[in-house]
Structures are given as structure tokens and as C-alpha cells.
């Protein structure tokens, strides 16, 4: 039995905690509101600029910069042939594909050798980055612009570094081997580099392939998955890219270019020392390091996100895979932000240090912790009668209604700009997933992210395993 004095003390503490949570909630939603406005402005301006542009004209260009696509692969025997075929048929005039087999234990190399008639050649490249030993370098008899590197297992970052050394392009596009890039994506992504010498990297939109129809390594029909997990992730990805990353273009730029799809200046990456091998978020760490170097050395430091180049990826369809993924993402976020903590609210780094970096710390990193504290506090408050049920319900509805609103507006942005989902039932389905997302799924991912946060403090470094179902030709990706 709790004494009245203790009860009173608990209630007081609870109320203070809830006010802190409300203050945090206000701060976060103010950030979101600002990002929503900037995302809408940026989308509007960008769509006016590119509407009707004949990107296909760059196909005949003799002055377009060379792009090397870097694709690390580990145990991708199911997907690899379609993936590489898709890369080789990208609509870009001056293209090289460098695929790295990172010590696969399955038939990945056998599939590649057979499908592309690989012939071993003596490796001829400048080792500007340290990597695990390269066992062999292959060139294709069928496609002169395809190089395959067979190396000892070293992880994704190590594989990308090896590919960087082999690549010859002025720009490099890092992707995941199971990502499907749309045919005109590179022709679109190269535009910011042509427009400004100050651009270091460009990111495009990653969309969810689950439920879509894939033929010949291309998404031919965009559909929304009927399965809740995949459906919720469609909403998440749209919100993250069309709202979050686009909006950040105005607020100091992005700290993340998706590892599944990003275009970089090769020389800048090599000069910065390539990818870090000691983090699970090597993609984010590279971008932050590049930008930091740019500010410190008064060199190029802009990272832009543009919404029209698209890559498709398969997302986790069971809770265990989702949990490992979100755990890793949040751990990686914490690692990178901690590593570069010097930039936090540091005017030396301009808008990056004063706006963008604080956003990632206060909103992205701390959000799961504050959300759990807020929910737990609310529940305890109700139990102790410190908070009325009516107030609690209203607050809950408002908070999660705001998330639904952001998702809904992201869907509208997508519809007005790109009209990807042609069927009415798909768009209705997306709205439904947006509304249901906050009734369980969001809370689960919050817990998974919190787990990642805790594991960061415990010093965990592992990746986990993602089981791929694969994009078979003439098949629909399993919803």
C-alpha cells in the first residue's frame, strides 16, 4: 500500500515528466511542420524545373560524366542475375558496373560466371584503400563494361571500398545488389552534379517492391502489398523520402544517403578514406564525414536529395527481420552521431551543424526513448489519477493523428508529383495502412529502435541476417 505522501510525490514527478514530454512533442512537431512546408516548397519548385525534361537526351551525350555502379553482393544467388542484367540495361551513355562478391558461401559466383561468361584477368587497379584480399578480378566476354571482383569476406563497407578502387568513373553509384534501379534513374541523378561543382552526393527515392510486378529486372506494375508489414513500410518509406529527406534540403541538407541508392563523387570518397569498416551504418557515416570534411577544408559539401530517380527494394516481411533491421539502423544512427558529435550546434558547420544535425539527434535519435517515456508516463498517470482519461485519449489521438496527417500529406505529394499508384484501390489501401500504422506497428518499431539504442550503449556491432525471397523474372514480388 503506497502512502499518500509518496503518491503525491509520484504524481508531481509524473506531471513534470509529462510536461517535458509535451515540450518535446511540441519541438518535434514544430520541426515536422517546418519540414513539411519546406518539402512541399522543394517538391513544387523541383517538379516545375523537371516537368517535361527530355532526360533521354543525355543518352546521346558525349560529355556526360562516367558513372560506375558499385554493387556489393553476399549470398545473392537467387537475385544476382536479374540484378546485374537490370544494371547493365540502365539508360546512361557512359556506364560501368562493378560487382563485388564479398566471400559468398552460396552459388553467387557460379551464377555470375555462367550468366555473363566471366573471364579472369590480372587485377590492374590502384589500391588507394585498404580492403580484404581480392581473390580474382573478372571481365565479362558479353559486356565489356562489367567487372566482377571476387574477394574475401569483409562486409559491405569493405566490398564497396574494393569496388571504389576498381571503378574508373568520375561518379560512383553505390547500391545493394538486390536493389532494382529504374532505367532512367542515373540520367536523372546526374543532374545536380551537372548543375553545381559544390555537390558531393545525391540521393534518390527508395520504394518498396513487395507486391509489385517485376519483369526482366524491372518493376513494370506498381502495386501495394496486401500484407500489413510491407504495407506499413510503404508508408514509412514515402514519408521518410518525400517528406523527411526532401524537406531537409532546405535545412542544411541530409545526413543520410540511402546505402541502397546513392551517387557520389568518386575522388571525394577516395580522398576521405572510403567507407568506415567499424560501423553498421557505413552509408550514413560516409555522408557525414564527407560533409564535415567539406566544411573543414572549405571544399564541396552539399548533399542533395531529389525525388524522381527511383530504386526498388524488398523490405522485411516478418517481425524478426524487421526487428533486426530497425535495431541496426538505430544503432548505426547513434554510432554516427556520437562519432561526429563535435558538429552538434557548432556554427562552424553552418546549417548542417545548427539545424540538420540537431534534428537527427533530437528527433530521430531520441524519439523512441521519449515516446516510450511518454506512453509509460501517461499510463501511470491514468493509474494514479494524475491525468484524466479524456485528456489522455485526446492527447493520444492528437499525437498519432499528426503522424497519420504527415503520412497522408506524403501520399498526396507522391500522387500529385508522380502518380505511381494508378489503381484507386492501391491509393485507398495506402491511406488505410497510414491510419492503421499507429495502432501497433509504430509502437513495435519504436521498441525495436529503443532496443538498438540500448545495444549501442552495450557496444553491439553485428548486422543480423536478411532472408531474401528474390526478384525472379516474370514474377510478382511476394506481397
Amino acid at each position: 500500500m503506497i502512502s499518500p505522501e509518496v503518491l503525491h510525490l509520484l504524481s508531481t514527478i509524473l506531471i513534470w515528466v509529462e510536461w517535458i514530454v509535451i515540450g518535446y512533442f511540441t519541438l518535434v512537431n514544430t520541426y515536422y511542420a517546418v519540414i513539411l512546408v519546406t518539402a512541399s516548397m522543394e517538391m513544387g519548385r523541383y517538379m516545375l524545373e523537371i516537368r517535361g525534361e527530355a532526360f533521354w537526351r543525355v543518352l546521346a551525350s558525349k560529355v556526360a560524366p562516367r558513372i560506375s555502379v558499385l554493387a556489393p553482393a553476399y549470398n545473392e544467388a537467387t537475385n544476382i542475375q536479374d540484378s546485374v542484367q537490370g544494371l547493365l540495361t540502365l539508360e546512361y551513355p557512359n556506364l560501368e558496373v562493378v560487382l563485388v562478391n564479398d566471400g559468398s558461401s552460396d552459388a553467387t559466383m557460379d551464377v555470375l560466371k555462367q550468366a555473363f561468361e566471366l573471364r579472369p584477368v590480372h587485377p590492374i587497379y590502384q589500391k588507394r584503400l585498404y580492403t580484404k584480399p581480392i581473390r580474382a578480378l573478372y571481365r565479362s566476354e558479353l559486356h565489356s563494361n562489367l567487372a566482377v571482383v571476387d574477394k574475401e569476406r569483409g562486409g559491405k563497407a569493405d566490398a564497396l571500398d574494393a569496388a571504389l578502387c576498381i571503378a574508373t568513373g568520375e561518379l560512383v553509384c553505390s547500391i545493394d545488389a538486390d536493389t532494382i534501379i529504374e532505367a532512367d534513374a542515373l540520367a536523372r541523378m546526374v543532374r545536380p552534379f551537372l548543375a553545381s561543382d559544390d555537390v558531393l552526393a545525391v540521393g534518390g527515392t527508395v520504394r518498396v517492391a513487395n507486391g509489385c510486378e517485376i519483369r526482366g529486372g524491372r518493376v513494370v506494375s506498381t502495386r501495394v502489398s496486401r500484407r500489413p508489414l510491407a504495407g506499413f513500410q510503404v508508408i514509412e518509406y514515402l514519408r521518410a523520402f518525400l517528406f523527411g529527406r526532401l524537406g531537409l534540403n532546405y535545412l542544411g541538407g541530409n545526413l543520410i544517403i540511402s546505402g541502397a541508392f546513392g551517387l557520389f563523387r568518386r575522388e571525394s570518397v577516395l580522398s576521405a578514406g572510403g567507407y568506415a569498416h567499424d560501423t553498421v551504418s557505413e552509408d550514413m557515416e560516409l555522408v557525414v564525414r564527407l560533409r564535415r570534411r567539406g566544411y573543414e577544408q572549405k571544399g564541396p559539401h552539399h548533399v542533395r536529395f531529389i525525388p524522381d530517380p527511383v530504386a526498388w527494394t524488398e523490405v522485411p516481411t516478418n517481425l524478426n527481420q524487421l526487428r533486426r533491421q530497425r535495431d541496426r539502423w538505430h544503432r548505426g544512427l547513434a554510432e554516427v552521431l556520437w562519432r561526429h558529435k563535435k558538429m552538434f550546434l557548432n556554427p562552424r558547420y553552418g546549417k548542417l551543424g545548427m539545424l540538420s544535425f540537431p534534428y537527427f539527434v533530437l528527433v530521430e535519435l531520441l524519439a523512441p526513448l521519449m515516446e516510450v517515456i511518454g506512453l509509460a508516463g501517461l499510463a501511470l498517470g491514468l493509474y494514479l489519477h494524475a491525468v484524466s482519461l479524456e485528456f489522455a485519449l485526446l492527447f493520444f489521438a492528437l499525437a498519432y493523428g499528426y503522424c497519420v496527417l504527415l503520412s497522408g500529406l506524403s501520399l498526396v505529394l507522391d500522387e500529385l508529383s508522380f502518380h505511381r499508384y494508378e489503381r484507386v484501390r492501391d491509393r485507398i489501401g495506402l491511406l488505410m495502412w497510414a491510419m492503421l500504422e499507429n495502432l501497433g506497428y509504430r509502437q513495435l518499431t519504436t521498441l525495436f529502435r529503443l532496443e538498438g539504442f540500448v545495444r549501442f550503449f552495450l557496444g553491439r556491432r553485428d548486422w543480423g541476417v536478411m532472408e531474401r525471397k528474390g526478384f525472379r523474372a516474370d514474377a510478382r514480388v511476394k506481397p
Binding site: 516545375l48 524545373e49 516537368r51 517535361g52 525534361e53 527530355a54 533521354w56 537526351r57 543525355v58 546521346a60 551525350s61 558525349k62 560529355v63 556526360a64 562516367r66 573471364r119 584477368v121 590480372h122 587485377p123 590492374i124 587497379y125 590502384q126 571481365r139 566476354e141 565489356s144 563494361n145 567487372a147 574508373t168 568513373g169 568520375e170 543532374r191 552534379f193 551537372l194 548543375a195 553545381s196 561543382d197 479524456e390 485528456f391 485526446l394 492527447f395 489521438a397 492528437l398 493523428g401 499528426y402 497519420v404 496527417l405 497522408g408 500529406l409 501520399l411 498526396v412 500522387e415 500529385l416 502518380h419 494508378e422 484507386v424 491509393r427 485507398i428 495506402l430 491511406l431
Partner: protein, 349 residues
């Protein structure tokens, strides 16, 4: 008070969500509607026989005239990739008759940048604009200038070529790229003015490099003299650019200049010269390139090795000899170069 605030905020959220739902449903319906009537109209124009414009109903012409400008852009950019030149002419005549060209030309004088941009873009797709678009090569907006360059590539005249050359020094990288692209596409007509451009004194590094990039793409013999003159320029990047141009041209004058560049103080220039001689297939330079396998810079050794490989039998002989050279870096590069496959120009930037 707090309850009131929360309730009002919630009401606003619900309202906005309902608006989102309406937009999601009805935007698509509008797109389906305009696609359904516009597609047959254009197909009829494309498939009509003879030289006469397809006879469309007054209603169809009225609808084309009143199609929203953004919808016009979408429609004709989708058409742009799929029709042949004859079919394009039929569509262009149809659009002239419907008054769309005139409307786009009027919009080229609009005060709003994106209206001018879309107008030029439409004229690039459907033709027309001779009286208004050339002036947009000097537009205040860089994206408008860039789009005007695309139009100029399809409608070249000596005056427009000069304007495009001026854009090679534009502050906007997109303009420079589009202008360079347009000049390459124009080809021979731009050779003489370009040769004069890169010969002229006091050009900035940026404009010289852009000009040399275009010259490399066009590969006209008229660039031989200016490129040879630039092979001794003070700037390293310009000398590299000139080597690339000379590599596309060849000739005695060019190969002499390239051989002199094999001993340039800058490694990037030596590498570019070696690469260029390999492209030309100038086997008399093989001994000098074999010597470059001992160069201290990897990029020079690499380029020399690839170039020797590209020379065929004479180059192979030198490579084989170098595999036993006392300089182990030279021997290694020679061995690697010999090991390359026959097909393709591998690892050549």
C-alpha cells in the same frame, strides 16, 4: 483550455486527412479522363496517311487548345520518345493548326521563369519558336537558358552557335553541360567557331575545358592547330584536355605534339598523352611509352601499359620485354597489361 486546444487541433487534422483522401481519389480520375480523350486524337494525327493534316473535329481542336499547359507537356513528352520524324511532322502541323505553338511562343515572354521554361520545353518537343526562343539563350534563369540550348541544338544557325559558345563559360554547370551537348549534337557547323573560340586569348580555364570537351566530341580536323597550340598551355588541365582532343584527331602534327607531352612535368598530362597515342595506334611511340612504364606515378604507368596493349603486336613486344625489367613496378604493370582480354577497352576512363 487545454481540452479545447486539443479538440480544435484534432478537428483540423481530420479535415486535412479528408482533403487528402479526396485528392488521392479524384486526381487519378482526372488523369484517366484527359488521357482517354487525348490519346486517340494524337493517334489519329500520327496514323493519318498522306501529307495533309488529319481532319479533326472542331471539338477535338477546342479541347487541345484548352488542355492545361502542364498536361500538354506531359502528353507531348511521352509522345516525344515514340514517334518517327514523319509522324512528328504530322503532329507538329496539327498543333500549329490548333494554335498551341502560338500560345507557347507567347508564354516565352512571360515574367515567371517556370512558364518560360515550360514554353521552351514544349517548343523543343513540338517545334516552332524561331522568333522567340533564341533570345532565351540569355535568359536570367539558368534552367531556361539550359532548355533553350536543347532547342538550339535542333535548330542550329551560326548566330545560335555563337550564343552556345558563350554559354560554355556560364556560371551554371547545367547551362555549360547543355551548351556543350548542343554543340556536339550540331557537329560540323560548330567546328569553325569552336576552333576560333578555343584559340582566342584570355579564355578562362572553365571555358577552355568545356570547349576542349566539345572538340573531343566532334573530332573535326579543324581543331588540330588550336589543340596543338594548347598542348603547351600553362594550365595542366588544359594540356590534358588538348591531349584528349589530339587523341581523337591523329595526324602528324598531333602525334608530334603528343610525343612531346609524354615528357610533360605533370603526370596527368603524361598519362593523357600516352592514352591518346594508344587510341590513335601510333606504334612509333611504343619505345617512349615502354619507358613510361618506369614512371613514378601509377596513373602514367597504367595509361602507358594500356596504350601499349592497344597498339597490338608492336606494343605487345615491348610489354613482353618489360616483364623482365629490373624495375619491378614496370614489370608488374607490363604483366598486367598483357593479361587483359581482347574485347573492349577495359579500365580506360
Amino acid at each position: 483550455m487545454m481540452h479545447l486546444v486539443l479538440s480544435v487541433a484534432l478537428a483540423i487534422e481530420v479535415t486535412v486527412l479528408l482533403v487528402c483522401a479526396v485528392v488521392l481519389i479524384f486526381h487519378s480520375a482526372w488523369l484517366v479522363y484527359y488521357r482517354r480523350w487525348s490519346q486517340p486524337v494524337l493517334e489519329q494525327a500520327v496514323l493519318s496517311s498522306g501529307e495533309d493534316v488529319a481532319h479533326l473535329s472542331r471539338r477535338d481542336i477546342w479541347r487541345l487548345k484548352h488542355l492545361p499547359f502542364q498536361a500538354e507537356i506531359k502528353l507531348f513528352s511521352a509522345l516525344d520518345r515514340t514517334v518517327s520524324s514523319t509522324e512528328r511532322k504530322r503532329v507538329t502541323d496539327l498543333l500549329h493548326e490548333a494554335g498551341l505553338v502560338g500560345r507557347a511562343e507567347r508564354r516565352c515572354r512571360d515574367r515567371v521563369w517556370w512558364k518560360r521554361l515550360h514554353a521552351v520545353r514544349l517548343l523543343t518537343l513540338i517545334g516552332g519558336g524561331e522568333s522567340v526562343v533564341p533570345a532565351l539563350l540569355g535568359d536570367p534563369s539558368p534552367v531556361v537558358r539550359a532548355q533553350a540550348s536543347d532547342w538550339a541544338a535542333d535548330h542550329p544557325t551560326p548566330g545560335r552557335v555563337q550564343a552556345l559558345l558563350g554559354l560554355l563559360d556560364d556560371p551554371s554547370g547545367l547551362c555549360r553541360f547543355k551548351a556543350a551537348n548542343a554543340l556536339v549534337q550540331i557537329g560540323a557547323l560548330s567546328a569553325e567557331p569552336l576552333a576560333a573560340y578555343i584559340t582566342a586569348a584570355q579564355r578562362s580555364e572553365r571555358s577552355l575545358l568545356a570547349g576542349l570537351g566539345v572538340a573531343e566530341g566532334i573530332a573535326d580536323p579543324r581543331f588540330l592547330t588550336p589543340a596543338t597550340a594548347l598542348s603547351t598551355h600553362t594550365l595542366e588541365t588544359v594540356r590534358v584536355g588538348s591531349a584528349r582532343v589530339l587523341g581523337n584527331l591523329g595526324g602528324a602534327e598531333g602525334t608530334d605534339a603528343l610525343q612531346r607531352m609524354l615528357v610533360d612535368q605533370a603526370p596527368t598530362v603524361r598519362a593523357a598523352a600516352a592514352r591518346a597515342l594508344g587510341v590513335i595506334g601510333h606504334w612509333p611511340a611504343a619505345p617512349a611509352m615502354a619507358n613510361l612504364l618506369r614512371d613514378r606515378a601509377w596513373v602514367v604507368r597504367h595509361s602507358a601499359g594500356l596504350a601499349l596493349r592497344a597498339l597490338g603486336s608492336p606494343g605487345r613486344l615491348f610489354l613482353q620485354e618489360m616483364t623482365t625489367d629490373e624495375d619491378r613496378f614496370a614489370a608488374d604493370m607490363a604483366r598486367q597489361a598483357l593479361d587483359l582480354p581482347e574485347t573492349g577497352r577495359v579500365n580506360v576512363p
